[in-house]
Protein backbone atom coordinates (compact mmCIF):
# COMPACT_ATOMS: atom_id res chain seq x y z
CA UNK A 1 0.00 0.00 0.00
CA UNK A 2 2.65 2.42 1.11
CA UNK A 3 4.97 1.40 -1.70
CA UNK A 4 2.20 1.99 -4.23
CA UNK A 5 1.64 5.53 -3.00
CA UNK A 6 5.30 6.13 -3.22
CA UNK A 7 5.47 5.17 -6.88
CA UNK A 8 2.60 7.49 -7.77
CA UNK A 9 4.20 10.42 -6.02
CA UNK A 10 7.51 9.65 -7.67
CA UNK A 11 5.76 10.11 -11.01
CA UNK A 12 4.18 13.37 -9.86
CA UNK A 13 7.50 14.66 -8.67
CA UNK A 14 9.25 14.05 -11.94
CA UNK A 15 6.36 15.72 -13.73
CA UNK A 16 6.80 18.83 -11.65
CA UNK A 17 10.54 18.75 -12.04
CA UNK A 18 10.13 18.75 -15.79
CA UNK A 19 8.03 21.91 -15.76
CA UNK A 20 10.05 24.86 -16.97
CA UNK A 21 11.21 27.32 -14.32
CA UNK A 22 8.57 29.88 -15.29
CA UNK A 23 5.65 27.51 -14.86
CA UNK A 24 6.58 26.90 -11.23
CA UNK A 25 6.42 30.55 -10.24
CA UNK A 26 3.54 31.41 -7.87
CA UNK A 27 2.48 34.51 -9.83
CA UNK A 28 1.86 32.50 -12.99
CA UNK A 29 -1.85 32.16 -12.25
CA UNK A 30 -2.20 35.90 -11.66
CA UNK A 31 -0.47 36.67 -14.94
CA UNK A 32 -2.86 34.33 -16.75
CA UNK A 33 -5.78 35.96 -14.96
CA UNK A 34 -4.59 39.43 -15.97
CA UNK A 35 -4.44 38.38 -19.62
CA UNK A 36 -7.91 36.83 -19.50
CA UNK A 37 -9.45 39.87 -17.76
CA UNK A 38 -7.74 42.29 -20.15
CA UNK A 39 -8.95 40.34 -23.19
CA UNK A 40 -12.44 40.25 -21.71
CA UNK A 41 -12.58 44.03 -21.34
CA UNK A 42 -10.99 44.67 -24.72
CA UNK A 43 -13.82 42.62 -26.19
CA UNK A 44 -16.69 44.04 -24.14
CA UNK A 45 -15.74 47.48 -22.81
CA UNK A 46 -15.86 50.93 -24.34
CA UNK A 47 -12.56 51.93 -26.01
CA UNK A 48 -12.19 54.73 -23.47
CA UNK A 49 -11.23 52.17 -20.81
CA UNK A 50 -7.84 51.60 -22.41
CA UNK A 51 -7.13 55.24 -23.16
CA UNK A 52 -4.50 56.86 -20.91
CA UNK A 53 -7.17 58.47 -18.73
CA UNK A 54 -9.11 55.21 -18.60
CA UNK A 55 -6.08 53.19 -17.54
CA UNK A 56 -5.25 55.71 -14.79
CA UNK A 57 -8.87 55.49 -13.77
CA UNK A 58 -8.60 51.80 -12.86
CA UNK A 59 -4.94 51.82 -11.80
CA UNK A 60 -5.63 54.41 -9.12
CA UNK A 61 -7.93 52.23 -6.97
CA UNK A 62 -5.71 49.26 -7.86
CA UNK A 63 -2.74 51.12 -6.39
CA UNK A 64 -4.56 51.95 -3.16
CA UNK A 65 -5.60 48.35 -2.76
CA UNK A 66 -2.20 47.09 -3.93
CA UNK A 67 -0.27 48.85 -1.16
CA UNK A 68 -2.47 47.00 1.33
CA UNK A 69 -2.12 43.75 -0.61
CA UNK A 70 1.68 43.88 -0.41
CA UNK A 71 1.51 44.08 3.39
CA UNK A 72 -1.26 41.49 3.62
CA UNK A 73 0.62 39.24 1.20
CA UNK A 74 3.89 39.32 3.17
CA UNK A 75 1.98 38.63 6.37
CA UNK A 76 0.09 35.75 4.73
CA UNK A 77 3.32 34.21 3.49
CA UNK A 78 4.56 34.39 7.08
CA UNK A 79 1.43 32.45 8.05
CA UNK A 80 -0.74 35.17 9.62
CA UNK A 81 -3.74 37.31 8.70
CA UNK A 82 -4.62 40.87 9.56
CA UNK A 83 -8.36 41.39 9.28
CA UNK A 84 -8.10 44.77 11.00
CA UNK A 85 -6.36 46.18 7.92
CA UNK A 86 -9.41 48.04 6.55
CA UNK A 87 -10.38 49.44 9.94
CA UNK A 88 -6.75 50.43 10.40
CA UNK A 89 -7.04 52.60 7.27
CA UNK A 90 -10.01 54.42 8.85
CA UNK A 91 -8.30 54.69 12.24
CA UNK A 92 -5.04 55.96 10.73
CA UNK A 93 -7.09 58.42 8.66
CA UNK A 94 -8.66 59.72 11.86
CA UNK A 95 -5.30 60.03 13.63
CA UNK A 96 -3.84 61.80 10.61
CA UNK A 97 -6.82 64.13 10.15
CA UNK A 98 -7.17 64.96 13.84
CA UNK A 99 -3.46 65.70 14.23
CA UNK A 100 -3.67 68.13 11.32
CA UNK A 101 -6.99 69.83 12.06
CA UNK A 102 -7.61 69.54 15.79
CA UNK A 103 -4.04 70.00 16.98
CA UNK A 104 -2.98 72.05 13.95
CA UNK A 105 0.28 70.08 13.75
CA UNK A 106 2.46 70.49 10.66
CA UNK A 107 2.21 67.78 7.99
CA UNK A 108 5.51 66.00 8.74
CA UNK A 109 4.47 65.63 12.38
CA UNK A 110 1.04 64.33 11.37
CA UNK A 111 2.63 61.76 9.08
CA UNK A 112 5.03 60.68 11.81
CA UNK A 113 2.26 60.41 14.39
CA UNK A 114 0.12 58.35 11.99
CA UNK A 115 2.88 55.85 11.31
CA UNK A 116 3.73 55.65 15.00
CA UNK A 117 0.12 54.77 15.76
CA UNK A 118 0.22 52.13 13.03
CA UNK A 119 3.34 50.55 14.51
CA UNK A 120 1.75 50.51 17.96
CA UNK A 121 -1.50 48.93 16.76
CA UNK A 122 0.35 46.43 14.56
CA UNK A 123 2.60 45.61 17.49
CA UNK A 124 -0.41 45.15 19.76
CA UNK A 125 -2.03 42.76 17.27
CA UNK A 126 1.24 40.86 17.04
CA UNK A 127 1.80 40.64 20.79
CA UNK A 128 -1.68 39.27 21.43
CA UNK A 129 -1.45 36.73 18.59
CA UNK A 130 2.08 35.59 19.34
CA UNK A 131 1.90 35.59 23.15
CA UNK A 132 -1.40 33.71 23.36
CA UNK A 133 -0.94 31.46 20.34
CA UNK A 134 -4.51 32.26 19.28
CA UNK A 135 -5.20 32.34 15.54
CA UNK A 136 -4.51 35.79 14.09
CA UNK A 137 -7.81 35.43 12.25
CA UNK A 138 -9.82 35.82 15.46
CA UNK A 139 -7.59 38.35 17.23
CA UNK A 140 -7.50 40.73 14.26
CA UNK A 141 -11.24 40.19 13.69
CA UNK A 142 -11.70 41.67 17.15
CA UNK A 143 -9.54 44.62 16.11
CA UNK A 144 -11.59 45.00 12.93
CA UNK A 145 -14.48 46.04 15.17
CA UNK A 146 -12.48 47.80 17.87
CA UNK A 147 -10.66 50.08 15.43
CA UNK A 148 -13.78 50.77 13.37
CA UNK A 149 -15.66 51.66 16.55
CA UNK A 150 -12.84 53.80 17.88
CA UNK A 151 -12.76 55.63 14.56
CA UNK A 152 -16.45 56.48 14.86
CA UNK A 153 -16.10 57.63 18.45
CA UNK A 154 -12.98 59.61 17.59
CA UNK A 155 -14.53 61.24 14.53
CA UNK A 156 -17.49 62.45 16.55
CA UNK A 157 -15.13 63.88 19.14
CA UNK A 158 -12.87 65.54 16.56
CA UNK A 159 -15.67 66.99 14.45
CA UNK A 160 -18.18 67.80 17.18
CA UNK A 161 -20.71 65.09 16.48
CA UNK A 162 -20.28 64.46 12.78
CA UNK A 163 -18.84 61.25 11.30
CA UNK A 164 -16.75 63.15 8.82
CA UNK A 165 -13.68 65.25 9.46
CA UNK A 166 -13.21 68.05 6.88
CA UNK A 167 -10.71 70.77 6.18
CA UNK A 168 -7.70 68.46 6.07
CA UNK A 169 -6.28 69.79 2.82
CA UNK A 170 -6.49 73.35 4.09
CA UNK A 171 -4.58 72.38 7.24
CA UNK A 172 -1.97 70.49 5.24
CA UNK A 173 -1.22 73.55 3.11
CA UNK A 174 0.98 73.15 0.08
CA UNK A 175 4.50 71.86 0.10
CA UNK A 176 6.71 69.32 -1.60
CA UNK A 177 5.57 66.82 1.03
CA UNK A 178 1.91 67.35 0.16
CA UNK A 179 2.68 66.75 -3.49
CA UNK A 180 4.51 63.54 -2.55
CA UNK A 181 1.30 62.21 -1.00
CA UNK A 182 -1.42 63.65 -3.20
CA UNK A 183 -2.28 64.75 -6.70
CA UNK A 184 -0.46 63.77 -9.85
CA UNK A 185 3.07 63.86 -11.13
CA UNK A 186 3.61 63.77 -14.89
CA UNK A 187 -0.07 62.98 -15.24
CA UNK A 188 0.25 59.91 -13.07
CA UNK A 189 -1.51 59.74 -9.68
CA UNK A 190 1.10 59.63 -6.87
CA UNK A 191 -0.38 56.50 -5.33
CA UNK A 192 0.84 54.62 -8.40
CA UNK A 193 4.44 55.56 -7.62
CA UNK A 194 3.93 54.50 -4.02
CA UNK A 195 2.32 51.25 -5.16
CA UNK A 196 5.22 50.37 -7.45
CA UNK A 197 7.78 51.38 -4.82
CA UNK A 198 6.15 49.45 -1.98
CA UNK A 199 5.67 46.36 -4.16
CA UNK A 200 9.25 46.52 -5.43
CA UNK A 201 10.67 46.77 -1.91
CA UNK A 202 8.39 43.96 -0.70
CA UNK A 203 9.27 41.69 -3.61
CA UNK A 204 12.97 42.42 -3.17
CA UNK A 205 12.92 41.65 0.55
CA UNK A 206 11.00 38.42 0.02
CA UNK A 207 13.14 37.07 -2.79
CA UNK A 208 16.58 38.44 -2.16
CA UNK A 209 17.22 38.92 1.54
CA UNK A 210 17.78 36.80 4.62
CA UNK A 211 14.64 38.28 6.16
CA UNK A 212 12.69 37.14 3.10
CA UNK A 213 13.89 33.60 3.67
CA UNK A 214 12.69 33.83 7.26
CA UNK A 215 9.26 35.09 6.17
CA UNK A 216 8.75 32.03 3.97
CA UNK A 217 10.10 29.71 6.65
CA UNK A 218 7.92 31.20 9.41
CA UNK A 219 4.81 30.52 7.33
CA UNK A 220 5.99 27.23 5.83
CA UNK A 221 6.68 25.50 9.12
CA UNK A 222 7.16 27.69 12.19
CA UNK A 223 8.44 24.76 14.27
CA UNK A 224 11.11 23.76 11.76
CA UNK A 225 12.05 27.40 11.26
CA UNK A 226 12.52 27.89 15.00
CA UNK A 227 14.64 24.76 15.20
CA UNK A 228 16.83 26.19 12.45
CA UNK A 229 17.39 29.37 14.44
CA UNK A 230 14.89 31.65 12.70
CA UNK A 231 13.42 34.25 15.12
CA UNK A 232 9.87 33.42 14.03
CA UNK A 233 8.12 35.62 16.62
CA UNK A 234 10.13 38.70 15.67
CA UNK A 235 9.58 38.10 11.96
CA UNK A 236 5.82 37.91 12.40
CA UNK A 237 5.69 40.90 14.77
CA UNK A 238 7.60 43.04 12.29
CA UNK A 239 5.23 42.03 9.50
CA UNK A 240 2.15 42.92 11.57
CA UNK A 241 3.68 46.38 11.99
CA UNK A 242 4.58 46.64 8.31
CA UNK A 243 1.02 45.71 7.34
CA UNK A 244 -0.39 48.37 9.66
CA UNK A 245 2.05 50.89 8.15
CA UNK A 246 0.78 49.99 4.67
CA UNK A 247 -2.71 50.82 5.95
CA UNK A 248 -1.41 54.12 7.35
CA UNK A 249 0.19 54.99 4.02
CA UNK A 250 -3.07 54.32 2.19
CA UNK A 251 -4.90 56.40 4.79
CA UNK A 252 -2.57 59.38 4.29
CA UNK A 253 -2.76 59.10 0.48
CA UNK A 254 -6.56 58.87 0.32
CA UNK A 255 -7.31 61.36 3.10
CA UNK A 256 -5.06 64.02 1.56
CA UNK A 257 -6.60 63.33 -1.82
CA UNK A 258 -10.18 63.65 -0.57
CA UNK A 259 -9.44 66.44 1.92
CA UNK A 260 -11.62 64.70 4.48
CA UNK A 261 -11.96 61.41 6.27
CA UNK A 262 -14.98 59.44 7.41
CA UNK A 263 -15.91 56.30 9.27
CA UNK A 264 -16.33 54.16 6.17
CA UNK A 265 -12.80 54.68 4.90
CA UNK A 266 -11.10 51.39 4.12
CA UNK A 267 -14.34 49.48 4.55
CA UNK A 268 -13.84 45.78 3.68
CA UNK A 269 -10.36 46.52 2.33
CA UNK A 270 -8.98 43.70 4.49
CA UNK A 271 -10.89 41.16 2.42
CA UNK A 272 -10.05 42.82 -0.88
CA UNK A 273 -6.35 42.88 0.03
CA UNK A 274 -6.41 39.20 0.98
CA UNK A 275 -8.28 38.38 -2.24
CA UNK A 276 -5.69 40.28 -4.30
CA UNK A 277 -2.89 38.42 -2.53
CA UNK A 278 -4.59 35.05 -3.09
CA UNK A 279 -5.21 35.82 -6.77
CA UNK A 280 -1.49 36.62 -6.81
CA UNK A 281 -0.63 33.11 -5.64
CA UNK A 282 -0.33 33.49 -1.85
CA UNK A 283 -1.50 30.40 0.00
CA UNK A 284 -4.05 30.91 2.77
CA UNK A 285 -2.04 28.41 4.79
CA UNK A 286 1.14 30.49 4.48
CA UNK A 287 4.65 29.66 3.41
CA UNK A 288 4.26 30.39 -0.26
CA UNK A 289 3.34 33.35 -2.37
CA UNK A 290 4.55 36.25 -4.42
CA UNK A 291 4.53 40.01 -4.09
CA UNK A 292 4.64 40.43 -7.86
CA UNK A 293 1.54 38.22 -7.84
CA UNK A 294 -0.20 40.42 -5.25
CA UNK A 295 0.74 43.41 -7.44
CA UNK A 296 -0.91 41.81 -10.48
CA UNK A 297 -3.84 40.63 -8.35
CA UNK A 298 -4.53 44.22 -7.30
CA UNK A 299 -4.51 45.40 -10.90
CA UNK A 300 -6.96 42.65 -11.85
CA UNK A 301 -9.13 43.79 -8.96
CA UNK A 302 -9.09 47.45 -10.02
CA UNK A 303 -9.76 46.48 -13.61
CA UNK A 304 -12.84 44.43 -12.75
CA UNK A 305 -14.29 47.00 -10.33
CA UNK A 306 -13.89 49.95 -12.68
CA UNK A 307 -14.02 48.07 -15.97
CA UNK A 308 -17.62 47.01 -15.60
CA UNK A 309 -18.72 50.66 -15.77
CA UNK A 310 -17.27 50.76 -19.29
CA UNK A 311 -19.40 47.82 -20.40
CA UNK A 312 -23.12 47.19 -20.79
CA UNK A 313 -22.88 44.74 -17.91
CA UNK A 314 -24.69 45.79 -14.74
CA UNK A 315 -22.22 46.97 -12.04
CA UNK A 316 -23.82 44.62 -9.57
CA UNK A 317 -22.09 41.73 -11.29
CA UNK A 318 -18.77 42.83 -9.90
CA UNK A 319 -19.07 40.85 -6.68
CA UNK A 320 -19.97 37.74 -8.68
CA UNK A 321 -16.85 38.20 -10.79
CA UNK A 322 -14.76 38.72 -7.69
CA UNK A 323 -16.05 35.64 -5.91
CA UNK A 324 -15.53 33.52 -9.02
CA UNK A 325 -11.97 34.77 -9.47
CA UNK A 326 -11.17 34.08 -5.83
CA UNK A 327 -12.53 30.56 -6.14
CA UNK A 328 -10.54 29.84 -9.30
CA UNK A 329 -7.40 31.28 -7.71
CA UNK A 330 -7.76 29.18 -4.57
CA UNK A 331 -8.34 25.99 -6.57
CA UNK A 332 -5.33 26.76 -8.74
CA UNK A 333 -3.09 27.55 -5.75
CA UNK A 334 -4.21 24.42 -3.98
CA UNK A 335 -3.24 22.33 -6.99
CA UNK A 336 0.18 24.00 -7.18
CA UNK A 337 0.76 23.44 -3.46
CA UNK A 338 -0.04 19.75 -3.76
CA UNK A 339 2.40 19.49 -6.61
CA UNK A 340 5.09 21.28 -4.66
CA UNK A 341 4.70 19.26 -1.48
CA UNK A 342 4.43 16.01 -3.40
CA UNK A 343 3.73 12.90 -1.40
CA UNK A 344 3.36 14.67 1.93
CA UNK A 345 0.35 16.77 0.94
Amino acid sequence: MEAGQHEASEEQRSLLARLPELARRPELGALGGLIVVTLFFIATADKAMFSVAGVMNFLSPAAQLGILAVGAGLLMIAGEFDLSLGSMVAFAGLVFGATLTVWQAPLPVAILVTFTFAVVVGGLNAQIVLKTGLPSFIVTLAFLFILRGLTLVGLKWASDGSTQLRGIRESAGDSLLVRMFSGETLGIPVELFWFVAVAAVGAFILARTRFGNWIQAAGGDAHAARNSGVPVTDVKAILFMVTACCAALVAILTVLDAGSTDARRGFQKEFEAIIAAVIGGCLLTGGYGSILGAFIGSIIFGMVVIGLTYTDIDQDWYQVFLGAMLLIAVLFNNYIRKQAIGARA
Binding site: R13, A17, N213, Q216, G220, G229
Partner: protein
Protein backbone atom coordinates in the same frame (compact mmCIF):
# COMPACT_ATOMS: atom_id res chain seq x y z
CA UNK B 1 43.38 11.78 23.04
CA UNK B 2 42.74 11.75 19.30
CA UNK B 3 41.66 8.14 19.51
CA UNK B 4 39.26 8.76 22.38
CA UNK B 5 35.54 8.94 21.86
CA UNK B 6 34.10 12.14 20.38
CA UNK B 7 30.99 11.78 22.47
CA UNK B 8 30.48 9.62 25.48
CA UNK B 9 27.57 9.00 27.83
CA UNK B 10 28.43 7.44 31.21
CA UNK B 11 25.73 5.74 33.26
CA UNK B 12 23.11 8.22 32.17
CA UNK B 13 19.91 8.12 34.21
CA UNK B 14 16.86 10.12 33.24
CA UNK B 15 13.74 10.29 35.35
CA UNK B 16 10.57 12.23 34.59
CA UNK B 17 8.95 12.49 38.00
CA UNK B 18 8.51 8.90 39.09
CA UNK B 19 8.90 7.53 35.57
CA UNK B 20 12.33 6.12 34.89
CA UNK B 21 13.10 6.51 31.20
CA UNK B 22 16.77 5.65 31.37
CA UNK B 23 18.36 3.71 34.19
CA UNK B 24 22.07 3.81 33.55
CA UNK B 25 23.01 3.85 29.88
CA UNK B 26 26.53 4.17 28.57
CA UNK B 27 27.52 4.82 25.00
CA UNK B 28 30.53 6.07 23.13
CA UNK B 29 31.00 7.32 19.61
CA UNK B 30 34.39 7.54 17.96
CA UNK B 31 35.49 9.40 14.87
CA UNK B 32 34.85 7.44 11.68
CA UNK B 33 32.49 5.10 13.44
CA UNK B 34 28.79 4.39 13.10
CA UNK B 35 27.28 3.46 16.43
CA UNK B 36 23.87 1.88 16.04
CA UNK B 37 21.38 2.40 18.82
CA UNK B 38 18.74 -0.29 18.69
CA UNK B 39 15.67 -0.90 20.71
CA UNK B 40 11.99 -1.53 20.52
CA UNK B 41 9.44 1.25 21.01
CA UNK B 42 9.61 2.51 24.57
CA UNK B 43 13.10 1.16 25.17
CA UNK B 44 14.43 4.67 25.83
CA UNK B 45 16.00 5.49 22.47
CA UNK B 46 14.21 8.83 22.13
CA UNK B 47 15.03 9.90 25.66
CA UNK B 48 18.67 8.99 25.16
CA UNK B 49 19.07 10.97 21.95
CA UNK B 50 17.21 13.92 23.40
CA UNK B 51 19.67 13.82 26.26
CA UNK B 52 22.65 13.55 23.91
CA UNK B 53 21.37 16.41 21.76
CA UNK B 54 20.72 18.86 24.59
CA UNK B 55 16.92 18.72 24.73
CA UNK B 56 16.93 16.95 28.14
CA UNK B 57 19.48 17.15 30.96
CA UNK B 58 20.48 13.82 32.50
CA UNK B 59 19.20 13.25 36.06
CA UNK B 60 22.37 11.34 36.87
CA UNK B 61 25.46 10.38 34.98
CA UNK B 62 27.73 12.31 32.69
CA UNK B 63 28.15 13.41 29.10
CA UNK B 64 31.63 13.97 27.73
CA UNK B 65 32.71 15.60 24.50
CA UNK B 66 36.28 14.64 23.55
CA UNK B 67 36.86 13.57 27.12
CA UNK B 68 35.63 16.83 28.67
CA UNK B 69 32.50 16.70 30.85
CA UNK B 70 29.72 18.89 29.41
CA UNK B 71 26.19 19.94 30.36
CA UNK B 72 24.23 21.09 27.34
CA UNK B 73 21.86 23.98 28.05
CA UNK B 74 20.03 23.60 24.74
CA UNK B 75 20.23 21.88 21.34
CA UNK B 76 22.00 25.03 20.14
CA UNK B 77 24.61 24.53 22.85
CA UNK B 78 25.10 20.91 21.80
CA UNK B 79 25.49 22.12 18.23
CA UNK B 80 28.22 24.51 19.34
CA UNK B 81 30.04 21.46 20.74
CA UNK B 82 29.76 19.80 17.34
CA UNK B 83 26.88 17.49 18.24
CA UNK B 84 24.16 17.80 15.59
CA UNK B 85 20.91 15.89 15.62
CA UNK B 86 18.70 15.21 12.65
CA UNK B 87 15.25 14.58 14.10
CA UNK B 88 12.54 12.77 12.20
CA UNK B 89 10.81 15.99 11.14
CA UNK B 90 14.17 16.95 9.55
CA UNK B 91 13.52 20.68 10.13
CA UNK B 92 12.99 21.05 6.39
CA UNK B 93 10.24 23.18 4.90
CA UNK B 94 8.57 21.42 1.95
CA UNK B 95 7.47 24.54 0.07
CA UNK B 96 10.90 26.13 0.11
CA UNK B 97 13.75 25.40 -2.26
CA UNK B 98 16.59 23.03 -1.45
CA UNK B 99 19.02 25.93 -1.27
CA UNK B 100 16.85 28.06 1.00
CA UNK B 101 16.34 25.09 3.31
CA UNK B 102 20.02 24.23 3.34
CA UNK B 103 20.95 27.69 4.61
CA UNK B 104 17.84 28.38 6.68
CA UNK B 105 18.75 30.48 9.71
CA UNK B 106 22.37 30.70 8.53
CA UNK B 107 21.96 32.52 5.23
CA UNK B 108 25.13 33.77 3.59
CA UNK B 109 24.90 37.48 2.77
CA UNK B 110 26.61 39.67 0.25
CA UNK B 111 26.87 43.43 0.78
CA UNK B 112 25.50 45.66 -1.92
CA UNK B 113 26.00 49.20 -0.70
CA UNK B 114 24.03 49.52 2.53
CA UNK B 115 21.85 46.52 1.66
CA UNK B 116 22.77 42.95 2.47
CA UNK B 117 21.55 40.40 0.00
CA UNK B 118 20.99 36.69 0.43
CA UNK B 119 23.85 35.33 -1.67
CA UNK B 120 21.86 32.96 -3.86
CA UNK B 121 24.66 32.00 -6.23
CA UNK B 122 27.00 31.02 -3.41
CA UNK B 123 24.20 29.20 -1.56
CA UNK B 124 23.13 27.29 -4.67
CA UNK B 125 26.65 26.22 -5.59
CA UNK B 126 27.44 25.06 -2.04
CA UNK B 127 24.17 23.15 -1.84
CA UNK B 128 24.77 21.44 -5.14
CA UNK B 129 28.36 20.64 -4.19
CA UNK B 130 27.53 19.24 -0.75
CA UNK B 131 24.72 17.12 -2.15
CA UNK B 132 26.97 15.77 -4.87
CA UNK B 133 29.49 14.73 -2.19
CA UNK B 134 26.66 12.78 -0.58
CA UNK B 135 26.13 11.02 -3.88
CA UNK B 136 22.93 12.85 -4.74
CA UNK B 137 22.64 14.81 -7.95
CA UNK B 138 20.22 17.66 -7.39
CA UNK B 139 18.62 18.52 -10.70
CA UNK B 140 17.87 22.04 -9.64
CA UNK B 141 18.76 23.55 -6.25
CA UNK B 142 15.79 25.92 -6.68
CA UNK B 143 13.25 23.12 -6.66
CA UNK B 144 11.03 22.77 -3.61
CA UNK B 145 12.13 20.24 -1.00
CA UNK B 146 8.61 18.81 -1.19
CA UNK B 147 9.35 17.52 -4.67
CA UNK B 148 12.21 15.35 -3.41
CA UNK B 149 12.00 11.79 -2.17
CA UNK B 150 12.16 10.91 1.52
CA UNK B 151 15.71 9.60 1.14
CA UNK B 152 16.89 12.73 -0.60
CA UNK B 153 15.36 14.89 2.13
CA UNK B 154 17.11 12.89 4.80
CA UNK B 155 20.39 13.36 2.98
CA UNK B 156 19.85 17.13 2.69
CA UNK B 157 19.36 17.34 6.43
CA UNK B 158 22.53 15.27 6.97
CA UNK B 159 24.59 17.25 4.46
CA UNK B 160 23.43 20.49 6.07
CA UNK B 161 24.47 19.35 9.55
CA UNK B 162 27.91 18.37 8.29
CA UNK B 163 28.44 21.54 6.32
CA UNK B 164 27.73 23.59 9.43
CA UNK B 165 30.42 21.86 11.42
CA UNK B 166 28.97 18.74 13.01
CA UNK B 167 31.53 16.27 14.32
CA UNK B 168 29.01 13.86 15.72
CA UNK B 169 25.78 13.28 13.89
CA UNK B 170 22.80 11.81 15.69
CA UNK B 171 20.25 10.40 13.28
CA UNK B 172 16.80 9.68 14.67
CA UNK B 173 15.34 6.74 12.75
CA UNK B 174 16.39 8.08 9.35
CA UNK B 175 15.19 4.97 7.55
CA UNK B 176 11.95 4.30 9.39
CA UNK B 177 9.47 5.59 6.81
CA UNK B 178 11.42 4.74 3.68
CA UNK B 179 11.16 2.13 0.97
CA UNK B 180 14.03 -0.13 -0.09
CA UNK B 181 15.69 2.16 -2.64
CA UNK B 182 15.35 5.19 -0.42
CA UNK B 183 16.82 3.31 2.53
CA UNK B 184 19.81 2.26 0.44
CA UNK B 185 20.35 5.91 -0.45
CA UNK B 186 20.38 6.97 3.20
CA UNK B 187 22.66 4.11 4.24
CA UNK B 188 25.09 5.10 1.51
CA UNK B 189 24.90 8.64 2.83
CA UNK B 190 25.72 7.45 6.36
CA UNK B 191 28.67 5.48 4.98
CA UNK B 192 29.90 8.67 3.29
CA UNK B 193 29.64 10.59 6.57
CA UNK B 194 31.72 7.93 8.32
CA UNK B 195 34.38 7.99 5.61
CA UNK B 196 34.76 11.72 6.23
CA UNK B 197 35.78 10.95 9.80
CA UNK B 198 32.63 11.94 11.65
CA UNK B 199 31.04 9.94 14.42
CA UNK B 200 27.48 8.80 13.79
CA UNK B 201 24.80 7.65 16.19
CA UNK B 202 22.29 5.79 14.07
CA UNK B 203 18.99 5.11 15.81
CA UNK B 204 16.85 2.41 14.31
CA UNK B 205 14.68 -0.51 15.21
CA UNK B 206 15.55 -2.31 12.02
CA UNK B 207 18.38 -4.74 12.67
CA UNK B 208 19.06 -5.22 8.96
CA UNK B 209 19.63 -1.50 8.45
CA UNK B 210 21.90 -1.44 11.48
CA UNK B 211 23.96 -4.42 10.31
CA UNK B 212 24.41 -2.81 6.91
CA UNK B 213 26.45 0.14 8.19
CA UNK B 214 27.13 -0.29 11.91
CA UNK B 215 30.56 -0.56 13.54
CA UNK B 216 29.25 -0.84 17.07
CA UNK B 217 25.84 -1.75 18.40
CA UNK B 218 24.04 -0.84 21.57
CA UNK B 219 20.72 -2.43 22.29
CA UNK B 220 18.43 -0.68 24.75
CA UNK B 221 15.79 -2.53 26.65
CA UNK B 222 13.52 -0.87 29.19
CA UNK B 223 15.89 2.00 29.76
CA UNK B 224 18.98 -0.17 30.19
CA UNK B 225 21.84 -1.16 27.97
CA UNK B 226 20.99 -4.73 27.11
CA UNK B 227 24.17 -5.19 25.12
CA UNK B 228 26.94 -3.11 23.64
CA UNK B 229 29.37 -4.75 21.27
CA UNK B 230 31.45 -4.50 18.10
CA UNK B 231 30.66 -5.56 14.60
CA UNK B 232 32.16 -9.06 14.78
CA UNK B 233 30.61 -9.98 18.08
CA UNK B 234 27.05 -9.99 16.89
CA UNK B 235 24.77 -11.67 14.48
CA UNK B 236 21.54 -10.43 13.06
CA UNK B 237 19.67 -13.06 15.01
CA UNK B 238 21.21 -12.23 18.36
CA UNK B 239 20.44 -8.52 17.95
CA UNK B 240 16.91 -9.33 16.93
CA UNK B 241 16.44 -11.46 19.98
CA UNK B 242 17.84 -8.81 22.31
CA UNK B 243 15.56 -6.19 20.89
CA UNK B 244 12.57 -8.40 21.38
CA UNK B 245 13.61 -8.48 25.02
CA UNK B 246 14.44 -12.16 25.08
CA UNK B 247 16.65 -13.86 27.65
CA UNK B 248 19.77 -11.80 28.12
CA UNK B 249 22.98 -13.67 27.53
CA UNK B 250 25.88 -12.87 29.83
CA UNK B 251 27.00 -9.31 29.13
CA UNK B 252 29.77 -9.14 26.57
Amino acid sequence: MTEGPLLEARDVVKRFGSVIALSGVSLEVRAGEVHCLLGDNGAGKSTLIKTLSGVHRPTEGQLLVKGEPVAFASPRDALDHGIATVFQDLALIPLMSVTRNFFLGREPVRRWGPISLFDREFAASVTRGEMTKMGIAIRDPDQAVGTLSGGERQCIAIARAIYFGAEVLILDEPTSALGVTQTAMVLKCIDEVRSRGLGVVFITHNVRHAMAVGDRFTVLNRGRTAKSCGRYEVTLESLQELMAGGALPAAA
